[in-house]
């Protein structure tokens, strides 16, 4: 599953739990023991539905949420419990792009000031900043004159280009992309996706790509981590995972994406899951997916499956599809 060289980012058994107010010692296990690596220049996607913990994982990595246990290593350095100062230094290496570019830009600041803010914090001079802003705007495909404008003069797609330019300002190595095209118009999305692919190739960036849109994930990601209720149910190479998904949840998720092709869409076998996502306040004891699973067996109610390697090279947490080897 991992490359021989040490990865840029290594996450091991990460847990992020939140105490529940008013309950006696109750916790929500938003992220409950997940592990993955992001090699240099690669894209790893976290996918799953709302409440699965994909965004919380990202926030844990950039220090916006406190990590309960586990390790996050960046370039071999443990970063899960850094102080404020060290975090600020790390910001030159790890940046995040959020879903809604309108909320991510200060409406009263010019585009140029927004992009140069991280540079100013790191002590760049005014001239250096101005030059860098020009370079960055060019790199994301906007005219240099946009530096003088405010966000309200820009379209959604242009704003997302500005947010990407700002994230690139300090030449980070890892970009966390949290649903970067979900808020954009369909005709604009492919422009931004092309830009992201181009930047990765030219700058050797690594991406942690968070999305619920599996067609986009398949297009961009090298490896996919499928999350359900804070745990990983399946992870593996993108081709394998899409061509031969093993976990019943992964299968349902892929089957639930409507294909933009009426003939293919109407002739294919679809899995429609019954029921809702369980409340993270009160998750099932055994497999988190047990309540909606079409292939569950009795032990699934009591035994939590761990990730096991399967024949196609993926890792799957399912007692039925990937039974653990018998303990010696």
């Amino acid at each position: 599953m991992t490359e021989p060289a040490s990865p840029l980012l290594g996450v091991r058994d990460l847990r992020i739990h939140f105490p529940v107010r008013g309950s006696d010692g109750g916790v929500v296990k938003a992220v409950d023991g997940i592990s993955f690596d992001i090699p240099v220049g690669r894209t790893v996607a976290l996918v799953g539905e709302s409440g699965c913990g994909k965004s919380t994982t990202a926030y844990g990595i950039i220090g916006l949420e406190q990590v309960t246990s586990g390790s996050i290593a960046f370039n071999g350095l443990e970063i899960s419990h850094l102080g404020k100062r060290a975090r600020r230094d790390l910001a030159t290496d790890i940046q995040i792009v959020f879903q809604d570019p309108s909320a991510a830009l200060n409406p009263k600041m010019t585009i140029g000031d927004s992009i140069s803010e991280p540079l100013a914090i790191q002590g760049w001079s005014r001239d250096e900043r101005r030059r860098r802003v020009g370079e960055l705007l060019d790199r994301v495909g906007l005219p240099a004159t946009y530096a003088e404008r405010t966000p309200n003069a820009l379209s959604g797609g242009q704003r997302q280009r500005v947010v990407i330019a700002r994230a690139l300002a300090l030449s980070p190595k890892l970009l966390i992309l949290d649903e970067p095209v979900s808020a954009l118009d369909v005709s604009i999305r492919s422009q931004i996706l092309n830009l992201l692919m181009e930047l990765q190739k030219e700058l050797g960036l690594s991406y942690l790509f968070i999305s619920h849109d599996l067609s986009v994930v398949r297009h961009l990601a090298d490896e996919v981590v499928v999350m359900y209720l804070g745990t990983v149910v399946e992870q593996g190479k993108t081709e394998t995972l899409f061509d031969a998904p093993v976990h019943p949840y992964t299968q349902a998720l892929i089957s639930a994406i409507p294909l933009p092709d009426p003939q293919a869409q109407r002739s294919r076998e679809r899995i429609i899951l019954k029921g809702d996502l369980p409340s993270p306040l009160n998750p099932p004891v055994g497999c988190p997916f047990v309540g909606r699973c079409p292939i569950r067996i009795d032990p699934c109610r009591t035994i939590r499956p761990s990730l096991q390697p399967v024949a196609c090279g993926a890792h799957v947490a399912c007692l039925v599809r990937a039974p653990a080897p018998l303990a010696a």
Partner: protein, 333 residues
């Protein structure tokens, strides 16, 4: 699917919109839109933000925001022109003969009212049923839209239900008086994909089993492919192309439809390939070009496009497009 084949497309339409024009601040945000919806069929109105699809949907039941008004055209439901009906007569239409559901089910429900009562409301209003009778029907309806344990759920408040469950409640409330027309404005956009699959499945069952005419407003070409019998593509406040779903996807005749389909990454596409793009941005309503409104972004545009192209037949099977250059579409390949 029992209605495949388009037989029922030749019935008298349930809804016929003719040359609808809606203005905001003197600008035509919906500009001469015509289409019809038929019994037992799903019509998808597809387009991006600002194309006028939601205003068109809202105008059918005269639910437009204050700033917008219908300045021209007809909205005929069973022969009655809703566009010119006095407000008090609309009460008899809304939730009775035609219903609408929205993107955010939780925002559409009254947070302080038990969901069962919200489903009953239309029955008591329109049919004058007693509480006991209405309650019985409401619980039956909640059950038929797939709410487990409907007796118990009917007594709960919206906050006690998930998003998917709230959308089922909305659909139950919308359908309780057996309307001929259901308008669904981005009904699954706020929902997770596995829940979206459930709701779309429910809507298809309504079409097939009760022959409800459904208009679904969406920006998602996948949802269109899954659900629609007929499609109207909107851009810049106008319908630029319309026709049967198979034709629209297999042989789009308008450059916008063609490019929109080509920009979406496909599950069977070549990974990491450069995606097709539509250059430029969706212009804001006060910056639409004269003539064809797509011409500022269209690779096929010529001087001719400064004149507005009519929505003209491409073939005899109900496929229309508003483009002067439908014969040059192969240049986009």
């Amino acid at each position: 699917m029992v209605t495949e084949g388009g037989q029922q497309g030749h019935d008298e339409p349930v809804l016929a919109i003719k040359d609808l024009r809606i203005q905001i601040d003197g600008i035509d945000v919906v500009d001469g839109v015509s289409f019809s919806a038929h019994r037992g069929r799903i019509l998808a109105i597809v387009g991006e933000s600002g194309c006028g699809k939601s205003l068109t949907a809202l105008s059918i039941l005269r639910l437009l925001p204050k700033a917008a008004r219908i300045v021209d055209g007809r909205v005929e439901l069973g022969g009655i022109d809703l566009a010119h009906l006095p407000e008090k007569d609309l009460e008899d239409i809304r939730g009775n003969k035609a219903s609408i559901i929205f993107q955010e089910p939780i925002a559409s429900l009254n947070p302080l009212m038990r969901v069962g009562l919200q489903v009953e409301e239309a029955l008591r209003l329109h049919r004058g049923l007693s509480h006991a009778e209405a309650q019985r029907e409401a619980i039956a309806m909640l059950s038929s839209v797939g709410i487990p344990d409907p007796q118990k759920r009917a007594k709960q408040y919206p906050f006690e239900l998930s998003g998917g469950m709230c959308q089922r409640v909305m659909i139950a409330a919308a359908l309780i008086c057996r309307p001929r027309l259901l308008i669904a404005d981005e009904p699954t956009t706020a929902l997770d994909v596995t829940i979206q699959a459930q709701i779309l499945d429910l809507m298809k069952r309504l079409r097939d089993e009760v022959a409800t005419s459904i208009i679904i407003i969406t920006h998602d070409m996948g949802v269109v492919a899954e659900m629609a019998d007929d499609v109207a593509v909107m851009y810049g406040g106008r319908v630029v192309e319309q026709g049967p779903v198979e034709t629209i996807f297999a042989a789009p005749a308008h450059p916008y439809t063609h490019l929109l389909l080509a920009t979406v990454p496909r599950l069977d596409g070549h990974r990491k390939s450069v995606l097709r793009t539509i250059e430029g941005v969706v212009p804001s309503v006060d910056q639409w070009p004269q003539g064809c409104r797509f011409r500022s972004r269209c690779p096929l545009a010529t001087d001719l496009c400064a004149q507005r192209p009519p929505l003209a037949p491409v073939d005899a099977a109900g496929h229309d497009a508003a483009c002067w250059h439908t014969d040059r579409l192969m240049e986009l390949a």
